[in-house]
């Protein structure tokens, strides 16, 4: 009996050691998402909730890429929408219209993302700050015009539909798409975490702080700026691919400045350097009105009022927690641990008769 208790104690200890691993929280989060999706399949939670969480996750992937650009490399870009749109048309055209295998689509999309990211990266070597934002905005608008007029590829202003999506020769169900999104989301989170905690992540931060200091430490500006843009574009294009798998429809009006600004807001509101913060920020900007507010009768009657709520939240958070939502979370966590410590001390005083 005593031995069993001992075994149990060591097991708990092992688990608590594991929980300190940086991946732990995110993996648990991913498992929770899968469980939630299974509940939706079983009808325990509404299906609409699961669907809106999937869309939020797709936006969070785009936001993660953008945070590498803004929070780490310190480069402002407003071209996100164009890249996501490009991703949707890649899969819609190659997998949908042409009926190619998914491997071909993936190869073409990733190659396209790398080339495009490298081009924007080259531009960023010459132009910085506000002007870079304007240039990328222009690029995004050019891409939107191309989406409108290049009808053979995008089906123009009528929008491109994407049905009969097959993977390994089998049609992919809605549930499978959601699973794919969850897995890709978690894998990209872990990848981002690895990049952030590696020499490259530190090099990006060094570059953001001071170009000249970074160069004197052997950090090549060209290599790292290109890398940041290529990564952001890759994330955006992957987001686009998933978006098309999930929504099955893409139209040029979606990929306007609004979308880029919303991603920017999600990253800034969440906390540009924290993955948890970005997930929270994306949920606040995109997920909140889809999951929570839609359930309230008032907002169902006036759907546009949800924008007022998110606008107010943005103002409040940037006023009181300029570092983003993550600061708020950290403050709460700090208070909680302090309270727990206090309660524990009291308990010990009671139990062992220590001085109070």
């Amino acid at each position: 009996m005593a031995l069993l208790a001992l075994r149990l104690r060591t097991f708990v200890k092992r688990l608590s050691a594991l929980s300190r691993h940086p991946y732990f929280g995110f993996v648990v989060f991913g498992i929770a998402l899968v469980v939630l999706r299974l509940f939706a399949l079983g009808g325990i939670v509404p299906n609409s909730l699961a669907k809106s969480l999937t869309v939020t996750m797709i936006y969070a992937i785009v936001a993660l890429g953008f945070s590498l650009l803004l929070g780490y490399a310190g480069l402002a870009s407003l071209g996100t929408a164009g890249f996501v749109g490009l991703g949707t048309y890649f899969i819609g055209h190659f997998s949908g219209t042409l009926g190619q295998t998914f491997a071909v689509t993936l190869a073409v999309s990733l190659a396209g993302a790398v080339v495009l990211g490298a081009v924007v990266g080259f531009i960023s070597l010459r132009i910085e700050g506000m002007y870079l934002a304007i240039i990328t905005l222009g690029l995004s608008e050019i891409m939107r015009e191309i989406f409108k007029s290049f009808t053979a590829f995008t089906n123009g202003v009528n929008g491109l539909e994407f049905r009969n999506f097959t993977l390994f020769g089998a049609p992919v169900s809605e549930f499978a798409v959601d699973m794919i999104v969850i897995v890709v989301f978690i894998l990209l989170i872990l990848g981002t975490l690895n990049i952030i905690k590696s020499p490259t992540g530190r090099a990006l931060l060094a570059m953001k702080n001071s170009d000249s200091a970074a160069q004197s430490m052997g950090i090549g500006l060209m290599r790292h700026r290109l890398l940041a843009f290529v990564l952001a574009t890759l994330y955006a294009v992957i987001g686009g691919l998933l978006y098309m798998m999930d929504q099955k429809f893409s139209i040029p009006t979606t990929w306007s400045l609004d979308f880029s600004l919303n991603i920017l807001a999600a990253v800034v509101v969440g906390g540009a350097q924290s993955i948890t913060g970005i997930i929270l920020g994306t949920f606040m900007i995109f997920g909140l009105n889809m999951t929570v507010l839609k359930e309230i009768a008032f907002f169902r009657e006036f759907p546009d009022a949800t924008w007022i709520v998110s606008g107010l939240l943005i103002i409040l958070i940037t006023m009181f927690y300029p570092g983003g939502l993550i600061r708020l979370i950290n403050a709460i966590r700090f208070k909680l641990t302090a309270a727990i410590r206090k309660i524990r001390a009291k308990w010990r005083a009671y139990r062992y008769g220590e001085d109070d």
């Binding site: 005593a2 031995l3 001992l6 060591t10 990848g191 690895n194 990049i195 905690k197 590696s198 020499p199 490259t200 530190r202 090099a203 931060l205 060094a206 702080n209 001071s210 000249s212 200091a213 160069q215 004197s216 430490m217 052997g218 950090i219 090549g220 500006l221 890398l227 350097q273 062992y352 008769g353 220590e354 001085d355």
Partner: protein
Amino acid sequence: MAKMIDAFLNSLRLDAVARRREQRTFLSEYLPILEKSIEVKAASAIARRQRDDLARLHDAAIAAGIAEPTIEAERSAALERIRVRFDLKRRANAQNRKRALAKRTASELFDDVLAELVAAEAAAVADIERRFAPSATDLPAATQAYRSLLAAVTADTAAVVGAIVRRRDRRFAVVRSTYAAKLARLDARIAELVSELETSPRDRRETVLRSRIAALTRALDKKSAAGASAAVRSKYAERIARIDAGIAKRTARLNPVGDDGNGNVLPDGVILSVRNLTMRFGGLRAVDDLSFDVKEGEIFGLIGPNGAGKTTIFNCITRFYRATSGEMYYRKNLGQVIRLNDYPVHDIIRQGIVRTFQNVELVWELSILDNLLVAAHTVYRTGFFGQLLHTPRLKREEEVLRAKALSVLKTLDLLPYAYAVPYGLPYGILKKIELARTLMASPRLIILDEPAAGLNDRETEDLAKLIKRIRDDHHATIFLVEHDMGLVMDVCDTVCAISFGKMLAIGTPAEIQADKAVKSAYLGEES
């Protein structure tokens, strides 16, 4: 063509040697860390085992009423805690009672409280006694059970500890022999490469060239014997002379006191040579035809009034500015001489030149330790995909570089700040961190831009000692710009004074202090 191939092969060999030497230092730095981690792991396994043993024996010992020293100590500590607490309370109560008596209020209330206190203390003591009292009904049996458990646990632990120690020793042996083998392999390869570098290409080429000369000489002899014209003979002589010159050039190039391949030789013991450097900004000549040599292992100071162009010189050497004209030569760790003008700014640190900045340029979001790791960016060998996947290789590199960063911080007395962020640290500390950062990439030439700016006298004194220590411990050459004359005259071996981009004087600190031109530049024409 053959010459080009030879040069190319040589450069490959040089790179290979450098790479292997780096790998060698890396491995030899990693071995102690690995050994320590094995040691710590084994020790903590043993300690864990012993702690668990105590926990297992504890309850049984209490049940049998056995006065184990640890249990006895625990019990007396608990009793002592209660005694102290109730003493305090009693004393407070007595004081309150005295005060109540003085004020003629209800002092008898405190007698009741005292009685309560006594009762509570007795209850607490009884509680402790109960907790430590033998709980078994059959004490001899419980004692017997305890004894057998003790024997079992002791034997068990002895076996486990023995196994742990054996496993540790086995791992030690394996690690040591693997590393010895790896190092031996590397050493052998380095020796092979160095010998190839030193002998074979030169010898082979030279033999070929010399045999050609011999053939030409023979041909010439034959032609002269046959009575050829003076023009033909001079043509042969010219060819022989050309090949001879080629041999001489090759020998010069392959000499350890090398040149950069174009005949620009650096004198012995000079690490950096700036020749006729000119930097023009529009019509302004910030640096005007300046030449000087920095010797290996010295502390070289550059002084001059404000706007003399000191920082501009630094920026030219570290390639932040493209010099309008002039050359800069630098000797690398294996004696190769390179022309710095050919290297982009982010490659300069790879050649062994590091610099600091006038205003502190740290990464504010990262801890001090991570800031040092940023400075070690060029030391990492793991590529982007390795970083994306956090391969064991990256983890190993991080471990070694973290250990190195901590040791650098320790030598500069910065260890308490290792995990702090730079925000809010005093300026003197930040300056020191800048200095610590330069040491991460194993530099040969450290360029300090006004290291004493913003420091008080005491800190400046410390800095002087520190600069000398860095020079001695890290075998580095130090090149500094400074306004603080005390510091310059104290630490520098050679001082170079400039004004408006032109050289005023160069020499020992004493010579500079006595120099008329320097005095007039600083104090005005008349003095």
